[in-house]
Structures are given as C-alpha cells and as structure tokens.
C-alpha cells in the first residue's frame, strides 16, 4: 500500500507563562491509503495535538522542533505540511486533503446557521462549483450517512437534530470534500452505545467506499478493536507502542498498554477486580526523567527506567515498543 502521510520525529512544544511545555515528543508514524489508525491514550497524552499538527491547526504558541517533518502525499505531489504558511496554502490540508470530525458535534456546528449553508459554504471554498451543485452534493452526502429526509434536514439548525444525527451530519460535511485523510477526534465518546455502534458501522462502510485513511482518536480500546487496522498508544507525548490491532490488543508489550486493557471492565468476567493504572498522568510541566511512564509503571526495572529514555524496539516488522523491558540495544550514556 502506498503511503498517504508520513510523520517523522514530530516534536512540539507550547510556549506558556509557566515555560515551555512539551506536548508531543519525537513521534513518528505513517498511514497508508485506506488504512485506519487508532490513536489511544489518556487525556493529556498528546493525541489530539498530534492529530491537529497534521492540519497545522495548533495554536500560535506552538513551536515545532526543526527535525519534525510531516509529509502528505497527494495526487499533485508531496506536501511538506509544516512549511505551509498562508491561508491559501493551508487550504490543501484544512478541509482539502484532510478533514476532521470533532468530539462534540453541537459545538462544531455554528448554532445560528443552517446545516445546509455550512456544508455548501465549505464545498464552494474547496471546489469550483455553483451553489446549486454544492447543495445537491450536500443532500446526497446527508442521504449517504443515513439521515432520513435529507431535503428537509439540510435547512435545519444543529439544535433541531439529535446527538447521533448531528454526528452523522458532521461526518457528511467532513466527507463531502472527498478528503484523502479523515481525522476523527473521539467521534463517538459523547454518544450512547447504540448510536456509537451505528456511527462506527457507518465509518467502516465509508472507508471501504471512499478508500481514505482514517486516524481515529479515542481512549476506548474497544472502539479501536472494532475499527482500526493499526494502533498507536501514546503517553505524555511519546509513542510507547505501535502495531497491528490484533497484536497490540492480544499481546500488549508495553506496561501502559497492558494497564489500559486491564482497566477496562469486562463483561465476560464479572468477578475480576477492576485494576486502575495507579496514580495520575503527570502534568506536562513536570515531565518525569527517563521513561515518562516510570512514575506509574508496575513493572519498573530500577534506576535505568528513571534515568534513561527507552529506545524504540522493533519486535517484528510491524510491532514496536519503547520500554526497557524489551530494549535490546545497549543503552548509551
């Protein structure tokens, strides 16, 4: 499969009053066309910031380290995302080749403008088409995502739709420009389980139909197991484990991934106690030295975890982990 986007050594800090805060630290991954990546981690792990970097959407106080590189492969050639500056250049990644769905659909639609006008507006911005054409495409998209009566719905406001319907409309809007990559930031977290199941089904159908790549950000490993091909687990800005979904969920190698899986309440075993990952994620202002996870790790080896950053260890062609338990390279001084 050919690559759609490559992220290499992405390091991102925010300038704040309290000093430089590292949000993403040396993260690399790549996504092929038609592939679904699940980006997993607790709040504060840097998953949303990583995704937003792909669209250059982070706030102005964001500082990308010089070695960071994001390459998007489009039909027109390679695009170096982080070098884009003007609004016109950024249109390529913002709504052009990449679309994003946010967690809270009510907050993502303008409340006083109809769903239709918002869909038509972005279609006209990104494609050369008439209002009537754009409206026709919008109605088709609403129909495609399973909204009944799209001719009537298109002239309604976001508050007139239910939560599930709003998220469907959001997906329709994101897909109407035919992006190559869809970033879905916790798209089902605010929904009921029954509606979540419907939205997940819909997204799976759409991947097959439009053959686009999806980055699915979530803290729910169950959702990842049901949707993703590949999982990236993040903790405090670092990618701690990456691999095919079956591998990572069945044979997690990093203690943090194991902790996340054990913390899930399981329906097939009601007697097993719930085991939280102990402690809280540290503030990014007080990043632990060495392995960032050592303050909460149950399998800590000793001083090496507190002093040295673990290398990425490639367990096989597709599964890699950053943990001293698996570190086969000699740790340099």
């Amino acid at each position: 499969m050919s690559s759609l986007i490559d992220v290499e050594n992405l390091t991102l800090q925010f300038r704040t009053d309290e000093g430089l805060v590292t949000a993403v630290d040396d993260v690399s991954f790549s996504l092929a066309k038609g592939e679904v990546i699940g980006l997993v981690g607790e709040s504060g792990s840097g998953k949303s910031v990583t995704a937003k970097s792909l669209m250059h959407l982070n706030a102005r106080n964001a500082l990308y380290a010089p070695q960071s590189k994001i390459t998007l492969y489009t039909d027109a050639g390679e695009v170096d995302v982080l070098s884009l500056r003007t609004a016109r250049e950024l249109n390529v990644v913002r709504g052009g080749a990449i679309s994003m769905i946010f967690q809270e659909p009510m907050a993502s639609f303008a409340p006083a403008i109809t769903i239709g006008s918002q869909m038509v507006e972005q279609l006209q911005l990104h494609g050369d088409m008439s209002k009537a054409q754009a409206r026709k495409i919008s109605v088709e998209m609403l129909d495609r995502v399973g909204i009944s009566d799209p001719h009537k719905r298109i002239d309604q406001f976001a508050f007139e739709l239910s939560g599930g319907m709003r998220q469907r409309a959001m997906i329709a809007m994101a897909l109407s420009t035919q992006p190559k990559l869809l970033i879905a930031d916790e798209p089902t977290t605010a929904l009921d389980v029954t509606i979540q199941a419907q939205v997940i089904d819909l997204m799976k159908d759409l991947v097959n139909e439009f053959h686009m790549g999806i980055i699915f950000i979530t803290h729910d490993l169950g959702v990842v197991a049901q949707t993703a091909d590949k999982v990236c687990v993040m903790y405090l800005g670092r990618m701690v484990e990456e691999g095919p979904v079956r591998e990572v969920i069945r044979h997690p190698k990093h203690p943090y991934t194991r902790g996340l899986i054990q913390a899930l309440p399981r329906l097939d075993d009601l007697d097993s106690p719930l085991t939280p990952v102990p402690g809280d994620i540290p503030s990014p202002l007080e990043r632990p030295s060495g392995c960032v996870f050592h303050t909460r790790c149950q399998e800590i080896l000793g001083d090496i975890c507190k002093s040295a950053l673990p290398h990425d260890t490639q367990l096989d062609a597709t599964h890699r982990v950053a943990c001293h338990l698996h570190d086969t390279k000699e740790v340099g001084a």
Partner: protein, 334 residues
C-alpha cells in the same frame, strides 16, 4: 415495606407541563409509573440511553424533580419520609441524608474556591457544625477517606486531574453524612485508567460508611462490575429489573440485549457480529403507541404496536416488560 428497603418508589411519575393550549393541557412524562425498591447498603444500577429518564428518576428520588403521581418512601433507622409530600424542615433534613455526585468534575467545582471550602460548603449551608474547628475536622476526615491529603485542601480545583477532581466532588457529596447517594454518570467523563480507580473508591466508601448508592450510567460494563441490582429504562419506563448476575447471565428484554451487543468488543475478530439497533430513541413528546420500544425492536409483532406490556415478575425476581420475552428466550439466543 420491609426493613431492609431504604427507598421504595411505587408507580412514580415525573411530569412536566408543556405550554397550555385552550383545548388541552399536555404533560411530558419523563418518568412514567416506575416502581423500584432499593435495598439498604446496595449498589442499585440504572441504565438506559440519553432520554430514557434515568437522570430524572434519580433526581425525583432526591426530591429535585417534581413527583406528579405515585409515591416514594424513604426510610432509615431514624426517619420515614414520603418524598411526594416532603417539605419544610423535613425536606432540609432529607437533604443531608440524600446527596448527588455529578457527572462532570470539571463543571461541578467552583474554580474560585479552595478544595477545603468546596468540601466544607454543604456543612456551612446546612449548619451541621458548631464551629470552624469542627468543620475543618469533618472536612479532613472525609478528605482522607477520599484519598485527598492536607496539601490538596489548600489548592484550587484547576491544579487537579480529572480523577482527583471527581474524588473532591465525592468528598463534597459525602461530607454531610448521607445515607443515600445518587451517582449520575460519575465516571463517564473519566479515562478508563482512572475510571476503575474511582469505582473502587465508591465501593470502598460504600462498605466503610454504610452507604446506599443509585448508580446511573449508560455503560453496561461499568454497571456489571459495580452494581448489585440493575434496572433498565427506556423512554421513561422500566423495561427490565433484576439482580446483576441474573440480568447479565440472561437478559430478557430485547432492548437490554441490544444494549449488550452494542458494547464494542475488545476482540478485533468480533467485528460486525453485534446485533445493531436501528434508529434512535423517540421523542418523549411523540411516543409510539403500544410497547414504546416496538419502533426499534427486531422482534416486534402486531400486538406490540397496539398493547403496552406491563412489568411482570415471573417469580424469580427478574422483572421484564415484554410481550414475547418467554418465546424469545427459546428462539433467539442472547
């Protein structure tokens, strides 16, 4: 009612009047003739989608939503209150016996108050302590039980993570020494890694302080692990109610079964096996006739469209409200 029941609701209805027209007065019944009995010292789970009326039922039992029909009795060792008529000094007394833990720990805590002041506020408002010293003592006591230390009490909420904030809201709810606590989606806003920690804490506090919990959640797997008894609501009605083990071993209502199969499985090879529920919960203003669930039920027959089933107890304490549950148990595997 028997001695070990703390709260007993009988055909409880919460209705909200809608705009009056000259011809008729319409009433939105958010909770419709629900009967529940909550045992002392139990963890009573209430499950359903948004719009099913679970929060409204919880609030009615706290006397924070109007009970328009039916009755609810609260009885502990000291007092017995009829919640539908409770007011004045008795209502004030009930407030310290029944408390609520909110869903969002980010919205529930005032950013301008220290943690000590947040936890002490109920004591001061209700006038439960005689001196500042006594207040401090009680705050420290409950804070320690919720694993907050003295250092934490001096700080403001912004300095805390989601899990710590939820522990602060729990301390605040428990400081007045309630017997009955409604936890409304109290772990829904938390990460899974922290969720387990808060659930374990609630269990611990329940046994230490002899609390009775009503645990409202849309997450069946969380309920399965914490509750002793589970009631499932749909569109203001109770559709199934049973001890947790019985419910999870063999759910009887098609809605409960659908809720089960909608939980995303951790097994990547399970994809697409789930029985998916079509559509969404109908608006309470426009309720379907007959069984409220028939519009989405995969097993609905003509009878379901005409006749509303009643909640029945076949004698084993596993109540269900469905015309066809017996035949479905045999023909449709769970």
């Amino acid at each position: 009612m028997s001695d070990d029941i703390l709260i007993s609701a009988d055909r409880l209805t919460v209705g909200y009047p809608l705009g009056n027209s000259i011809l008729r007065k319409s009433v939105l019944k958010a909770v419709n003739e629900v009967s529940v009995h909550i045992e002392r010292g139990s963890f009573f789970g209430l499950v359903g989608e948004s719009g099913s009326g679970k929060t409204t039922l919880g609030r009615a039992l706290l006397k924070a939503a109007p009970i328009t029909e039916g009755r609810a009795i609260y009885r502990d060792d000291e007092v017995e209150y009829d919640l539908s008529t409770l007011d004045g000094a008795e209502l004030k007394d009930y407030r310290k016996r029944a408390q609520l833990i909110f869903q969002d720990p980010y919205a529930a805590l005032s950013p301008r108050m220290t943690v000590r002041d947040i936890i002490a506020e109920p004591l001061e408002v209700m006038g439960l302590t005689a001196s500042r010293q006594e207040t401090d003592e009680r705050v420290r006591e409950i804070a320690a039980k919720c694993r907050l230390n003295l250092e934490h009490l001096r700080r403001f909420p912004h300095a805390f993570s989601g899990g710590q904030r939820q522990r602060i809201s729990i301390a605040r709810a428990l400081v007045s020494g309630p017997k009955f606590v409604v936890a409304d989606e109290s772990v829904a806003a938390l990460d899974v890694s922290i969720q387990a920690d808060v659930l374990n804490l609630l269990k611990q506090l329940q046994s230490d302080l002899g609390l009775t919990f009503m645990f409202i959640s849309h997450d069946l797997s969380v309920v399965a692990h914490t509750c002793d008894h589970v009631a499932v609501m749909y569109l203001g009605r109770l559709v199934e109610s049973a001890p947790t083990r019985k419910l999870f071993a063999m759910p009887r209502h098609p809605y409960t079964r659908a809720l089960f199969s909608a939980i995303p499985s951790l097994d990547p090879d399970d994809r697409g096996k789930a029985q998916k529920l079509e559509g969404e919960i109908p608006s309470p203003l426009n309720q379907p006739p007959g069984c409220k669930f028939h519009t989405r039920c995969p097993n609905a027959i003509d009878r379901c469209k005409r006749e509303e089933p009643r909640l029945e107890d076949p004698g084993d304490g596993h109540e269900v409200s469905c015309h066809r549950w017996r035949e479905l148990l045999e023909t449709v595997p769970a």
